[in-house]
C-alpha cells in the first residue's frame, strides 16, 4: 500500500509547468515502505551535483524514486523551482512522464528490442519529435559520448561500459530538467569504470539543471559531486563539501569510507575522554579551519579523527618525547592494502594503523603481538560532534 502512485492526486496537474533549467530542487521527504522510513530534507541548486552516499538499505534508491515520481510521498513536499511535483497536503502529484527527470538506472534498463540509437531517440519521440528528427538528436548525443560506431547495436551486443553510456545518452537526449543517477558505475569493471567516470564528469559539468548521484563508492562521490549527503537508515547523518566530509566524518560509516579512525568522546580540559575507553590529547592544526578544542566548553561532545598513517607502532614503550599520546595494544589482524599494510590494533582506544611492508617485517608484527602506539596531539583532530 505504500507504493501508491496517488491516482486521486494525479488529476490535479495536467501538464508539467515549463519551468526552465535554472530550477532548484527543494524537498522535504517523508516516505515509508514496509518497515522502512525515509525522512530527509534536500536542496540542490541548478548546475550542482549532490552525491547521496550511504550503505545498502540507507534509502538512497528510495530517495531517487521519489524525485523521479516512481514513488509518492507520504508527507512533506517536493518542488522543482516554482513547480510543486509532489505534496500530499496540497493534493498535488505530477506523474513521472510529466516531470522531465532524466534517470540513469543502476541496471540501465535499456529497451532490449531497440537499437542504441532508438533507445536514445525514445525520449525525443515521446516528446513529439518525428522519427527522423529524433534519430538525429540520438546520433548527436551518441557521437558526443563516443558511441557512434555502436549506434545500430542492440543492448545485448553492447559492453557494460557502452550500455552505461547509452543509458546516460538516453537520459540526456530527453532534455531533462533534473538528472538522477543511481549507482551509475557500480556494475562496471575497473577499466570501463574509468572511461565512464570521465564521460559522466563531462555530462555533469555540462548539465545546467540540478543533478543527484546515488552511490556507495566514496571515490565516485568525491570526484563527481559538488556536495555530499550521507544517508544512514533513512536519515541524513552528514552533509557538506566533499573535502569537509572527508576531513571531519560524522559517523563510523563515513570515517571508514574515507579511511580514518573516529572516536566519539567528551572534552575535559585539553583531553578527550573517549566513549570506548581511553583518552587522547587533541589539538587543532593551524590554518585548516578546525576550531581549537580549547575554545569549546568543557564537557562538549566531540569527535576525534585520526589518520591511520599518523599512528606509530613500537615494540617497547617509547621514551618521553613529542608525541603526547602513548598507549598499549595488541595486534588483532593485518591486511595488505596496495603497498601498505593496515594493522588492526586492539586497545583503549583501538586503532587502524598504516605501515609499510618493510616496517611490519622489521617489527615482526603478527596477530597477538603486544605493541605500543603513539600519536602526536597535532594529528588527533577534534571537532564538535554533530547534534542529532
Amino acid at each position: 500500500m505504500s507504493d501508491r502512485t496517488a491516482g486521486h492526486r494525479h488529476a490535479a496537474v495536467e501538464q508539467a509547468a515549463p519551468g526552465g533549467l535554472d530550477a532548484d530542487i527543494d524537498a522535504d521527504i517523508d516516505v515509508s515502505r514496509g518497515g522502512f522510513r525515509l525522512r530527509v530534507g534536500l536542496q540542490v541548486a541548478p548546475g550542482e551535483t549532490l552525491a547521496v552516499l550511504g550503505p545498502n538499505g540507507a534509502g538512497k534508491t528510495t530517495l531517487l524514486r521519489v524525485l523521479a515520481g516512481l514513488l509518492a510521498l507520504d508527507a512533506g513536499h517536493l518542488r522543482l523551482g516554482p513547480q510543486t511535483l509532489d505534496s500530499p497536503a496540497e493534493r498535488v502529484f505530477v506523474a513521472p512522464q510529466l516531470r522531465g527527470a532524466g534517470v540513469v538506472f543502476q541496471d540501465y534498463r535499456l529497451f532490449p528490442h531497440l537499437s542504441a540509437r532508438d533507445n536514445v531517440a525514445f525520449g525525443p519521440t515521446a516528446a513529439g519529435l518525428r522519427r527522423r528528427a529524433a534519430r538525429a538528436v540520438a546520433d548527436r548525443e551518441l557521437e558526443r559520448l563516443g558511441l557512434g560506431p555502436v549506434a545500430g547495436h542492440r543492448p545485448a551486443q553492447l559492453s557494460g561500459g557502452q550500455a552505461q553510456r547509452v543509458a546516460l545518452a538516453r537520459a540526456l537526449a530527453a532534455s531533462p530538467r533534473l538528472l538522477l543517477l543511481d549507482e551509475p558505475l557500480a556494475a562496471l569493471d575497473a577499466r570501463s569504470r574509468a572511461d565512464s567516470r570521465t564521460a559522466l564528469r563531462t555530462a555533469l559539468a555540462c548539465f545546467p539543471g540540478p543533478a543527484l548521484l546515488v552511490t556507495h563508492d566514496p571515490l565516485e562521490a568525491l570526484t563527481l559531486a559538488d556536495r555530499l549527503l550521507v544517508l544512514e537508515r533513512g536519515e541524513a547523518v552528514q552533509e557538506g563539501a566533499p573535502a569537509d566530509v572527508a576531513r571531519r566524518p560524522a559517523t563510523d560509516y563515513v570515517a571508514r569510507l574515507v579511511g580514518l579512525n573516529l572516536y566519539p568522546g567528551t572534552l575535559d580540559g585539553d583531553r578527550v575522554r573517549l566513549e570506548g575507553g581511553g583518552t587522547l590529547v587533541a589539538a587543532a592544526r593551524a590554518g585548516d579551519g578546525d576550531s581549537d578544542p580549547a575554545a569549546l566548553p568543557g564537557g562538549s561532545r566531540v569527535l576525534v579523527a585520526v589518520d591511520p598513517a599518523a599512528v606509530s607502532v613500537h615494540l617497547e614503550r617509547p621514551a618521553a618525547g613529542s608525541p603526547r599520546n602513548v598507549w598499549p595494544g595488541t595486534v588483532r589482524a593485518l591486511d595488505l592494502l596496495g603497498n601498505r599494510v593496515r594493522v588492526d590494533v586492539a586497545g583503549a582506544p583501538p586503532a587502524l594503523v598504516d605501515l609499510t611492508a618493510p616496517a611490519v617485517a622489521e617489527l615482526g608484527l603478527r596477530p597477538g603481538t603486544p605493541v605500543w602506539l603513539s600519536l602526536k596531539a597535532s594529528e588527533a583532530r577534534a571537532y564538535p560532534a554533530p547534534v542529532r
Binding site: 523521479a68 516512481l70 512522464q97 532524466g102 538506472f105 541496471d107 534498463r109 529497451f111 515521446a126
Partner: protein, 275 residues
C-alpha cells in the same frame, strides 16, 4: 588446455539411464506416439482427395479456420489488456480474479458450454435481455461457435501473456515513463514489443485450442453443417456414417497440430540464448 582434460568429463557425463527409468520412459513415448502412427497407418491415402474435397468436409474446415481465427482475434483484443491488468494491478482481489479467469483451463468444456447457455442462451441471464432488446441471439449460430471457442481458448493467451508481463517487471515501463512516454505509448512501444514472443506463442496456443474445441461448441452452438459444424464435430459425426472420412478429417487436424508445434518450437519456444 590439453585435450585429455577436456574430453574426460564429457565421457563421464554420458551415463546410461538406469532401467527403472528407461523402461517406463520408452513405454510412455510409445503410448503417446502409437495412436498418431495408427492414424497414419489407417489413413485412406488413395481416397483422400475425394474425401476432403467433399463439400461437407471443406465447409467444416473453412468454418473451423474462420471461427478459430476470430476467437483468437477476440482473445487478443480483450485478453492482452486483461493480462496486463492482472500482472500490474495492485488492487485487492486481483489474485482471486486471476484464479477465476483461468478456470476455463481446467473446467470440462462441456460444463463451460452449459454455463454459456445459462448466461447467453435464449433464457440466459444476459441472453434473454440481449434478445428482447437488441434482437441478438447467440446460441446455435456461427457467432456462438466463436463465443464458445473464445471462452475455452482465451485463458491460454491470458496465462502466457500475463506471465510474460509479470516476469518483464515494471523496470522498463518505469524507464519509459521517466523519458516522458504516456502510459499508452509505454504499453505500445515498450511492453508489447518486449513480450512479443510470449504473445505469439500464446496466440498460437489459443488458436490451436480453439480449432480443436468440441465440448463447449456442441453444447452452446450445436452441430448444424455449414453453420456451426466445425472439424472436430464433423469427425465425431462422420465416425458413425463414413469412418474413412473421419480418419481423413483427423489427418488434417493432425497436420495442423504438427505445423503449430513446429512453428512454436522453431521460433518461440527455443531456449533463449545466454545473454
Amino acid at each position: 588446455m590439453d585435450r585429455g582434460s577436456r574430453t574426460a568429463p564429457r565421457r563421464e557425463a554420458r551415463q546410461r539411464a538406469p532401467w527403472p527409468l528407461s523402461v517406463p520412459a520408452l513405454v510412455a513415448a510409445a503410448f503417446l506416439l502409437l495412436p498418431l502412427a495408427a492414424v497414419l497407418l489407417r489413413a485412406p491415402w488413395t481416397g483422400l482427395p475425394r474425401l476432403l474435397s467433399d463439400s461437407g468436409a471443406l465447409d467444416a474446415l473453412r468454418l473451423s479456420l474462420v471461427c478459430a481465427t476470430a476467437a483468437t482475434a477476440v482473445s487478443l483484443v480483450l485478453g492482452v489488456p486483461l493480462a496486463w491488468a492482472l500482472a500490474r494491478s495492485a488492487l485487492p482481489g486481483v489474485r482471486v480474479l486471476r484464479a477465476l479467469v483461468t478456470l476455463p483451463l481446467v473446467l470440462p468444456p462441456v460444463v463451460g458450454g452449459l454455463a454459456l447457455l445459462l448466461a447467453l442462451g435464449r433464457r440466459g441471464v444476459v441472453g434473454r435481455p440481449l434478445e428482447e432488446h437488441l434482437g441478438v441471439s447467440l446460441p446455435f449460430t456461427t457467432t456462438g461457435v466463436v463465443v464458445a471457442e473464445t471462452f475455452v481458448a482465451m485463458p491460454f493467451l491470458v496465462v502466457a501473456v500475463e506471465g510474460a508481463i509479470r516476469s518483464l517487471g515494471p523496470g522498463l515501463e518505469e524507464a519509459a515513463a521517466t523519458l516522458g512516454a504516456s502510459r499508452t505509448a509505454t504499453f505500445r512501444r515498450v511492453t508489447l514489443p518486449a513480450i512479443a514472443p510470449a504473445l505469439v506463442a500464446g496466440a498460437v496456443l489459443c488458436w490451436a485450442r480453439a480449432l480443436g474445441e468440441f465440448g463447449a461448441t456442441i453444447m452452446f452452438a450445436g452441430n448444424s453443417p455449414g453453420r456451426t459444424q466445425t472439424m472436430p464435430l464433423a469427425v465425431y459425426l462422420a465416425l458413425e456414417t463414413d469412418p474413412d472420412a473421419a480418419v481423413a478429417l483427423s489427418l488434417v487436424l493432425l497436420a495442423v497440430a504438427v505445423a503449430v508445434l513446429v512453428l512454436l518450437r522453431d521460433r518461440w519456444l527455443r531456449v533463449p540464448a545466454a545473454s
